[in-house]
């Protein structure tokens, strides 16, 4: 009974801590890509912790029930699936609109890849740009 509430409280605390870290990363990091990295990852994890924690916490109290936990888990799974996709789309759009990397960045394989591709298809003008997606989204 109370163990469930305690576990839930700890999870919520962890989640809010990760929220705080994500907000901190948003201020602290030097460029868009690093900010995105810190904020999305820790915000996703923080939401998971808070949501599942709230569900378990409610189970431990007298008003909680299994549907509570089910709802929070469904929301958590939805966030887990959608947050990385939106982060990927945002980052890719940022790169495509020409936002520069941090000046301390060492290597930009995606640009090299794009330039190689550009050179490749001088004779073939029409082409899809589906393959670079894997590299483009990550960082």
């Amino acid at each position: 009974m109370n163990a469930l509430a305690a576990i839930g409280e700890i999870l919520v605390l962890l989640g809010t801590f990760f929220y705080f870290l994500s907000a901190l990363g948003l201020i602290r990091m030097p460029d868009v890509y690093n900010r995105m990295q810190t904020s999305t990852k820790s915000a996703t994890l923080g939401s998971l912790g808070v949501l599942v924690g709230v569900g378990i916490w409610a189970l431990g109290t007298d008003f909680g029930s299994i549907p509570w936990l089910t709802k929070t888990v469904v929301i958590a799974v939805f966030l887990l699936l959608t947050n990385p996709i939106s982060a990927h789309a945002l980052i890719r759009a940022a790169y495509k609109s020409g936002i520069p990397l941090w000046e301390g960045s060492v290597v930009d394989r995606y640009r090299e890849h794009l330039e190689a591709k550009e050179k490749e298809k001088v004779e073939a003008p029409e082409g899809a740009e589906e393959t670079p997606a894997e590299e483009g989204g990550e960082e």
Partner: protein, 235 residues
């Protein structure tokens, strides 16, 4: 600079004036006249647990009919303004593979959730308008992730019209049975679901009307998106 200062000053005056007016309104006090009636009678009169949807669909269904009409006019107006003989989608870049795969995975769930919202309008927060907007979001997702996606126009426009007619038809049946437009015949005359208030099969005609509104709003907003995303093709 002068313009901006004048605008700020006049906005401040208007804001102060409104705040003066609102200062006399007793917020949070027990001054409900009609509201208390709604809260006291909503269950036995409409069968809905969600008082908001009961008010919106049942007590003041005429306003909702007006809102649906406004949406319909908006959709028709956008269609009329952006009307061209040849229109095509001119999106240049497909979404990345992560986005398209994610969209493929998520769209059914988004639609399911939209349907859940409008079917459970009498039990949970929401109703036809949020549910329909959620369904339209699924179509927007498809439009944004794929270059060539287009809604099936024939079916969509017919569904929109039929749903609007369905709403009026439900109201007219109420007129025939109960004597006034949008009379809740399922609840008042048939007594359908009176014993399970708070479950899915209750709420009189609220779920039916909200299903109709959800379909209508979903197809309408999708149609507006479709109209706005297409561009003229010159030949």
């Amino acid at each position: 600079m002068l313009k901006r200062a004048l605008a700020i000053i006049s906005l401040l005056i208007i804001g102060y004036w409104l705040a003066q007016g609102l200062a006399g309104v007793p917020f949070g006090e027990d001054k409900m006249l009609v509201g208390q009636y709604y809260l006291d009678h909503v269950k036995e009169q409409t069968g809905a647990v969600n008082a908001v949807t009961a008010v919106v669909v049942n007590y003041r269904g005429f306003d909702t009919l007006g809102e649906v009409t406004v949406l319909f006019i908006a959709s028709t107006g956008v269609g009329a303004l952006l009307w061209r003989r040849k229109k095509k989608r001119t999106a240049k870049t497909e979404g990345s593979i992560v986005l398209t795969t994610g969209t493929r995975l998520l769209v059914p769930f988004v639609m399911l959730f939209g349907a859940y919202i409008f079917i459970h309008g009498h039990l949970t927060p929401g109703g036809g308008f949020p549910g329909g907007a959620t369904i339209a979001t699924a179509f927007l997702l498809l439009y944004l992730a794929f270059i060539t996606y287009e809604i099936p126009h024939k079916g969509f426009e017919k569904t929109e019209g039929l749903a609007g007619m369905g709403y009026v038809l439900v109201g007219l049946i109420g007129l025939a049975i109960g004597g006034y437009f949008l009379f809740d015949w399922i609840w008042q005359t048939w007594n359908f679901g009176t014993e399970n208030i708070g479950r899915l099969f209750s709420g009189g005609f609220i779920p039916i009307i909200y299903t109709i509104i959800g379909l209508k709003v979903g197809t309408e907003l999708s149609g507006i998106i479709d109209n706005m995303l297409k561009e003229e093709v010159s030949e």
